[in-house]
Symmetry: C2
Subunit: 431 residues, 2 copies
């Protein structure tokens, strides 16, 4: 559509929401993206840039002058501007900052001073804070008279003389109360304060748990320094929850806009690590080469033992990784979880073992083989259940992300133990 | 702590947020939960019940009288009350509804008339809607004078004479404007309307995409019937994103509070389905029993071929499942995705094949074996890459959830094709 006819493309795109324009740009093959963006001109504004996928944005802003980027950054809330600038190279970052107004620059520089993925990067500085003694009427007059206040906020914070938050009020409470009511009587004193260095994942969990719309961010001295609103947290909640599946499978970020070579590198590292565990499993099989020469059927069946264990282990692992990520696993219920998974593994192992034992007896008519097969299935299910709980819990206690590292160990256990029990029992009882 | 000393337990628990009390109840072993809840008495109120995990709630509300539940439901927003009542058995549901005030009952019954997991179940009926001609001052007076309005809202909707929404205004815009401004001049006309029968997953995606705080829900005639607020959507976003990992691994809901027997049943079904694919793979190996009798080493190495393919397939699958779930895959970029994954698979396959070929030559010193090994690894990587894209995309086009069904097919492909290429090539070239 956009070939040459930029007038028409502009007409089609102009009624769209910035998020939709960003989606559209992401769908265009990367080699034509810059041309399309140029044809759309000022329709690709600050908000569109801010909505773009990181990699697509990198593609596009390379072509922009620092002055243009500085202008975009000034239009956005601090947190959105920081999100764009934090990904840039040091030198480009400096060029953009130099082109900004001193006030905007100070806000962004102080945000960049906080660690990546912390509340300090996520918060915006524009917020409304009033002292406790003000009345509803005074607050409304203050809001009407101050043109330089932000126009987008959902709650206002009530602070003491040292600028420490003592409570908050939803705007709806202010709007439904007579002018004479004091903020001290209207506000809610129980509030969820976010320390400025809190990790964004933890921030997202608090928003979820307490159903927050916005929250005050405080520095170490307890002073109000910013606010985080739920719309900035929503994409973190979704990313963090979706990330586990990608990490567990070793797919890295799993971003479909990531350059191919970067993706190859991430995935290859994971495959090579798994090659190591596959070699360990292979060497277990190697121990039993004699047995297999005698009874090649074992080679066909051993994959069922290791595969079933692998599946059961992955099930337990997925449940545990989600439970840990949502803070559902604590010291007090770890033993209960282990007991629960052990019972599930024992029941499933017994059921599958029986099914496979009877099935294989009907097919091959060898009682010894079927008993060995069924026993190996049961044992490997128990191994899978225990490994599926103990490995992520242990990694988590040692501050290793269980989503990243668990799968390798669990697979190693289910593969190696599956081969060891099946071929080991077969060697003892069948040859 | 709670043994007998209910006075002390109440003192400890009373300053907590309802969400924290709910968490505490979830941590208590199920057999002691009812006693603790009884000891806490009215601290376990409507909000705590509403925050509880479904299974834990079922445990606790079994003991409550319908009148008590009706009272709880009346205290909550429609959507939270519906969430509690929709999970109950038909007869219990009716008993609770009978015990409610007619007005509350009507609201809940009409919500229950919408399909499960639809916007209609998620929305609340209490909202503020005003006609276009009102001024800011009139709206504020209206809000102050009507005591029966909800106290918790973030935006108000502007409707025409037929009660169709024509725009919305954030409360902050109303608070920062002089009394004389007409709502028609203040409101934003571009708004995201949610049809009452929209699936909750789609609702969550819209909230995410457009960074919504609340949205108007309309019936088929376009009339305003309710509103959904972001706090009700946040847990859906997190659940939907976290669900994929559980579905992909066949762990069902993955709820750690689910009764063990129900969990066993869900997981066992998955394991039996996978047993089928494992048997297909085993039968492929069975075709080559002769080859394996000759060269038992193949039995040890074949697991590396299938395993590497399985890992690569899972990586691609995880990326595709997330991309599909977040609406990033459309007709226009499917081919681009296939091309991308093919290039990644070819690069990784070549790298792994080379590594494994050279490695195995150094270990075993058999050039033929190493060439067969390397070729099989490369081919199986390509199979994995293509299956990892094509299977979820095809399932999605046929309205089957790719997270649930893809893994079985991908594993079947990588296992069977891995064995087939490796053992097949070995049979041709090595025996």
């Amino acid at each position: 559509v956009e070939e040459g006819d930029s007038e028409k493309a502009r007409d089609l795109v102009s009624p769209l929401h910035p998020a939709d324009i960003a989606d559209l740009l992401e769908l265009i093959p990367s080699e034509r993206r810059a041309d399309v963006a140029a044809a759309l001109g000022d329709l690709v504004g600050a908000e569109v840039i801010s909505e773009l996928n990181d990699y697509v944005r990198d593609d596009l802003i390379g072509a922009l002058a620092p002055e243009q980027l500085a202008e975009f950054a000034a239009e956005l809330d601090t947190d959105d501007a920081v999100a764009i600038i934090e990904d840039m190279e040091e030198a480009d970052q400096q060029a953009v900052l130099d082109a900004m107004e001193p006030e905007d620059r100070a806000a962004i520089e102080s945000a960049l001073a906080y660690p990546e993925e912390s509340a300090g990067r996520l918060m915006q500085r524009d917020l409304v804070a009033v002292p406790e003694h003000m009345t509803v009427g005074q607050v409304i007059d203050y809001l009407r008279d101050n043109d330089d206040l932000t126009r987008d906020f959902w709650e206002i914070y009530i602070v003491d003389a040292a600028h420490r938050p003592v409570g908050y009020s939803q705007l709806s409470w202010i709007l439904t109360c007579p002018r004479g009511v004091a903020m001290a009587d209207l506000m809610k004193r129980e509030q969820t304060l976010i320390p400025v260095d809190m990790d964004q994942e933890e921030v997202a969990l608090r928003f979820q748990k307490y159903a927050l719309i916005s929250a005050a961010v405080v520095d170490r001295a307890g002073r109000l320094v910013g606010m985080i609103t739920v719309d900035d947290v929503v994409h973190i909640i979704s990313e963090e929850a979706g990330e586990d599946i990608l990490r567990l499978s070793g797919a890295g970020e799993g971003d479909i806009n990531q350059p191919v070579l970067l993706t190859v590198r991430t995935r290859l590292v994971w495959l090579v690590v798994n090659l190591g565990t596959a070699m360990i499993a292979a060497s277990v099989v190697g121990l039993f080469e004699r047995t297999i020469e005698h009874l090649a059927l074992l080679a066909a069946l051993m994959g069922i033992v290791s595969g079933m264990g692998g599946n059961a282990g992955t099930q337990t692992l997925a449940v545990m990784v989600r439970a840990i990520a949502t803070n559902q696993v604590t010291g007090s219920n770890t033993w209960r979880m282990i007991g629960r998974e052990f019972r599930i593994a024992a029941t499933n192992g017994a059921a599958l073992g029986t099914l496979i034992g009877i099935g294989s007896y009907l097919i091959y008519g060898q009682l010894g083989l079927s008993l060995v097969f069924a026993t190996a299935i049961l044992i490997n299910n128990l191994v899978a259940g225990l490994a599926g709980v103990l490995i992520p819990v242990t990694l988590d206690r040692n501050n290793v992300d269980p989503a990243v590292a668990s799968a390798v160990f669990v697979t190693m256990m289910t593969d190696s133990m599956g081969f060891l029990t099946f071929l080991g029992l077969a060697t003892i009882f069948l040859t």
